[in-house]
Amino acid sequence: MELLVAACVGMTTMAAVYLILQRRSFPVIVGMSLLSYSVNVFLFATGGLAIDAPPLLTGPVPDAPMTDPLPQALVLTAIVISFGMTAVVVVMSLGAFFQSRSDRIDLDPNAGPDSAPATGAAIGIDPAERGGT
């Protein structure tokens, strides 16, 4: 079982990283989402695997062996937060798409003035600001 889970993590990570290396927003977002899946499984797996031993008490104190509850609690919130973050990135990418009419996420030198890379002039000292000494 451990081998299978490790293989799942590996495969999901591979698909995720491959998609993240694409140039369009949609596959990258899907890739991020997949990556959060695989990382969540990874975190869950750090607690060790167990079958039929959910972290539910049957008496006031634990009497039977049970799986580690802590990674589960951490992963539970991580799953929900990942969704929130994915949603933010989705809306941001939609905004970028509506404004630039393209879902490319890197700066294309041929795409026109809007996508020109930010030059140093934007953050450097404006000579006019310096004035006389």
Binding site: V17, L19, R24, P54, L57, A87, G95, G124
Partner: protein, 931 residues
């Protein structure tokens, strides 16, 4: 009144003027004056204790681990400075009320900044802890940035504000280092302890580095060479600011600090060498530059630099009489320089001109202003019977008795030279402004202002005359301050006439020399050609160099290709992992393998195939989503199989909303990915991705086969889940009880994310930018099929009951707020999908933002509830109640917290998806409009 309250009053008061800005300048000024008067009264209440020679201290623990405490101290020195700050602050408030133009409109903002600064400055001088002092120190830099840049529309103001901030804050950084070293040596961050640790400091090899770092900060703040250049540039500030910050208060912070640490450092050869030299050089340079300026405020700024140098020099000499003279000159300088700045402002107002070359003849036109300027500038020149004369005499006496530069007379000679220049520029200020004929039509039409503008400076000028005629009046004040500086009882005797002595002769030489020099160069003098390296030019070279370097660095890192950045991050992570794998060691496997059943194997196979297919077939985006759905579903089944029922429930519901979200997005985006990468590049990507996957898989496997190296805290959670938290479901108890703070933070983040999405969507709607691309495939004919409508509406109550059930049992069985929130959202989303956005939105009675807010509020309130029982925040309690007809129901406060989670999750998910849906509606409307 407690010292802490004195320091905090201006901060509390700072809220008022901003709120009352609309009621006009008078109300805002009163709102500024009241907290100042209160603080001043509070200070006065401590006077009896001070006169008895005690220091009033107060300590409130803050972060005891690093020695940071809100420790305040009112002793002679801090009371002296605090009285100057608050007293002159009051006068400046009156002056600013009439100085600011009615159409300025920013009076509320101005007075708020003024109070912020006043609070920071008062806190600085009252601090009894170096860390606290550093905090106030930086606050004064920030507040002065806001004040200098008050007229932000003027480039000069922005430039001056930035320069002042850069120089003083950089100095502040050096000082932090120095103070920390000093605190380490003394073994305490309390100033009282540090002052008592002179022997320990003297014995430490780190004494000189600490001293140099602290002096760097003090010199930067007090505009000492080589940091002198920022002060004249800060003259772009409104004149009340210059009169306040740049004559009486902020620039004196460095002097204050040198005086405060005087017992620790003074008297050592390094202190003498550095401080005396810097002071002397500053005194001379400032006076020389002042003589060449034609702008009234710039002249006064350079003169301030020069006088600050004088006080620095006195503190550097390191004898008790010199320290007393320093205190007296701080008082004198505040008394004459603040009115001079205010006079410059009055002249500027009346003649619309600050240039000496275009002023003149105002003596007859503005008699009141003339008298004020006459008395204060003669005091600046050191003319007898005025305050400045007394401290200058004392200073020359000290200079004559101090050996410097290998001679007994060197210090006195250079000082006298500086005083000649000082007298010359003082006379020139008077001559150019008030004597002769008016040199411009505006100056000829000037007249005295109303009492509001001249009353404030007049009060201070009264002080100048009082100290000059009866210096014994100032003696108790100087005694108090100097005793606190030197740490021993000091008793000074001031008198107007010290008899014929060498100091008097030098004074006479200075005044006569100044007069002659002025006659020689005339009222207007050509600009300087400085033989020294220009410190300001060096500053600009440094600034430009570092920005250019930062730009190059940034451009090298951020090439504009997201893929390259992602690859760099992945590559770096891989490299670190590889390094760890090659250098680390791996213990033997301690855990057995869990057996695999055939059904599980089939599920695994599905997941692996879906992963591979996602890579191969990702160009058709809808198909990609199908594979993601399979992966997510298999993961949730895996969670269920591997004893994580809560995770399974969460994962499967998140899976549903994620796919819905992606589908909504895909509605707008192109449906396919074009081929953009060469085969080689794709192979590279695949290899890269494969390496990442292999790495993570190996790591995962290695971890799963081994027990943790250290005992985990999981056992504690399991044992106390029921006993302490009253729940059978340990995961849920961890979420809402043990780690309640984390969960609270997480739902807050979720809420913020949802509101962000709403705001982004709103922006897109406002910009009217939302369009759907031309359809590539025909749409389904029926937008809202009846069968789906009926099914979803029937399912709604059922789904909601399931949700409530999941919520209620969450504490004891798989379920809880997260899952219930997601289930409710899905049930509602089904309505949106089946019946249409408009139909569903009409029936929403509670806005989703409200749900988020209510959720977070419920969570906060639950946590705060434990305060009512004198328990720490978020302590939970539980008990059982039996509702008729139901099983005994456990009611834990944690369940109430879970309700907060539920509301937030539901609100956030709904707000996020509803925002996206609104975009869809807008796109359809736009399509319809455009035909």
């Amino acid at each position: 009144m407690s010292p802490m309250l004195i320091a905090l009053l201006p901060f509390f008061g700072a809220l008022l003027p901003g709120i009352m800005a609309r009621s006009g300048r008078t109300v805002a000024a009163w709102a500024t004056a009241v907290p100042t008067i209160l603080a001043l009264t509070g200070l006065a209440l401590n006077l009896p204790a001070l006169m008895a020679g005690e220091a009033v201290t107060q300590s409130v623990a803050w972060i005891p681990q690093i020695g940071l405490a809100a420790e305040f101290r009112v002793d002679g020195l801090s009371a002296f400075f605090a009285a100057l700050i608050l007293g002159i602050g009051l006068i400046i408030t009156l002056y600013a009320r009439y100085y600011l133009a009615p159409e300025d409109g920013g009076a509320g903002r101005f007075f708020t900044f003024l109070l912020l600064f006043q609070g920071a400055m008062t806190g600085l001088v009252l601090s009894d802890n170096v860390l606290l002092l550093l905090i106030f120190w930086e606050l004064t830099s920030l507040a002065s940035f806001l004040l200098i840049g008050y007229w932000a529309h003027e480039p000069d103001a922005r430039r001056g504000a930035r320069m002042a901030l850069a120089v003083t804050a950089l100095g502040g950084l050096a000082m932090i280092g120095g103070m920390l070293i000093l605190g380490q040596i003394a073994g305490s961050m309390r100033i009282g302890d540090i002052l008592a640790a002179r022997e320990a400091v003297a014995a430490s090899p780190l004494r000189v580095p600490a001293m140099v770092l602290i002096l760097t900060g003090a010199f930067a703040k007090s505009a000492q060479v080589p940091f002198h250049f920022w002060l004249p540039r800060a003259m772009a500030a409104p004149t009340p600011v210059s009169a306040y910050l740049h004559s009486a208060t902020m620039v004196k912070a460095g002097l204050f600090l040198m005086a405060r640490l005087w017992p620790v450092f003074a008297g050592t050869p390094e202190w003498f060498a550095i401080v005396v030299t810097a002071g002397l050089l500053t005194m001379l340079l400032g006076a020389a530059f002042a003589l060449t300026e034609t702008d009234l405020k710039a002249l006064l700024a350079w003169s301030t630099v020069s006088h600050l140098g004088l006080v620095t020099l006195l503190l550097g000499i390191g004898t008790v009489p010199a320290a007393a003279a320093a205190m007296l000159h701080i008082l004198n300088h505040a008394l004459f320089k603040a009115p001079l700045f205010m006079v410059a402002g009055i002249v500027d107002h009346a003649a619309h001109e600050r240039d000496l070359r275009r002023l003149g003849g105002l003596r007859k036109l503005m008699p009141i202003t003339f008298v004020l300027a006459l008395l204060s500038s003669l005091s600046m020149a050191g003319v007898p019977l005025l305050g400045g004369f007394i401290s200058k005499e004392l200073m020359l006496n000290e200079a004559l008795s101090t050996r410097w530069g290998g001679t007994d007379w060197g210090l006195a000679a250079v000082s006298t030279l500086a005083f000649i220049l000082s007298a010359a520029y003082s006379f020139r200020f008077l001559w150019g402004t008030f004597f002769g004929a008016a040199r411009s039509p505006e100056a000829a039409a000037a007249h005295d202002p109303g009492a509001g503008l001249w009353l404030g400076p007049a009060v201070l000028v009264l002080g100048v005359v009082a100290v000059g005629l009866m210096p014994m009046l100032a003696a108790p004040v100087v005694d108090l301050a100097a005793s606190a500086v030197t740490g021993g009882a000091v008793e000074v005797h001031f008198s107007v006439w010290h008899g014929l002595n060498p100091a008097l002769a030098l004074s006479a030489v200075a005044l006569a020399g100044g007069l002659l020099l002025l006659l020689a160069i005339g009222p207007a003098m050509p600009r300087r050609a400085s033989p020294f390296p220009d410190a300001e030019a060096i500053y600009w070279r440094l600034m430009e160099g570092s920005t250019a370097w930062a730009t190059r660095f940034g451009e090298a890192l951020q090439s504009g290709s997201m893929a390259r950045n992602s690859a760099a991050i992945t590559g770096a992570t891989l490299a670190i992992g590889l390094w760890g794998a090659l250098t680390g060691s791996l213990g033997p496997a301690t855990r057995g393998l869990v057996p695999v059943s055939p059904v599980v194997f089939v599920g695994w196979l599905l997941l692996m195939m879906a992963g591979a297919a996602a890579v191969v077939l990702h160009r058709t985006r809808l198909v990609l989503l199908v594979f993601v759905g399979i992966i997510g579903l298999m993961i949730s089944l895996g969670f269920a199989w591997l004893s994580a029922p809560d995770l399974a429930l969460t994962q499967v519901s998140v899976e549903v909303v994620t796919i819905l979200l992606m589908l909504l997005a895909l509605n707008f985006l192109p449906k396919t990915d074009p081929v953009e990468h060469s085969n080689r590049r794709r192979l590279f990507d695949l290899g890269f991705a494969g390496a990442a996957g292999l790495g993570l898989a190996t790591l995962c496997y290695a971890i799963m086969r081994r027990d943790p190296a250290f005992a985990t805290i999981s056992g504690y959670h399991a044992e106390n889940s029921y006993v302490g938290g009253g729940g059978w479901n340990i995961v849920n108890v961890i979420l809402v009880d043990f780690r309640g703070y984390d969960t609270f933070g997480e739902i807050t983040v979720l809420g913020i994310a949802a509101v962000t999405i709403y705001a982004l969507a709103q922006g897109l709607l406002k910009a009217n930018a939302v369009r759907t691309p031309a359809m590539e495939a025909p749409r389904a004919g029926d937008r809202h099929p009846v069968m789906m409508i009926v099914a979803t509406r029937l399912m709604l109550p059922v789904a909601m009951v399931v949700g409530v059930f999941m919520f209620l049992r969450g504490h004891n069985a798989p379920g809880g707020g997260f899952v219930a929130g997601l289930l409710f959202s899905i049930a509602l989303l089904m309505q949106y999908m089946a019946s249409g956005f408009a139909w569903a939105q009409e029936r929403v009675t509670v806005p989703y933002h409200g749900l988020i807010g209510a959720g977070v509020a419920v969570a906060v309130a639950t946590g705060a509830g434990s305060w009512a029982f004198d328990l720490p925040y978020m302590t939970s309690a539980f008990g059982y109640v039996t509702l008729p007809g139901l099983q005994p129901l456990e009611l834990a406060t944690a369940a109430l917290f879970d309700l907060g989670v539920f509301l937030t999750v539901m609100g956030a998910v709904m707000l996020a998806l509803a925002s996206l849906s609104r975009l869809g509606v807008a796109a359809r409307d736009a399509e319809r409009r455009e035909g």
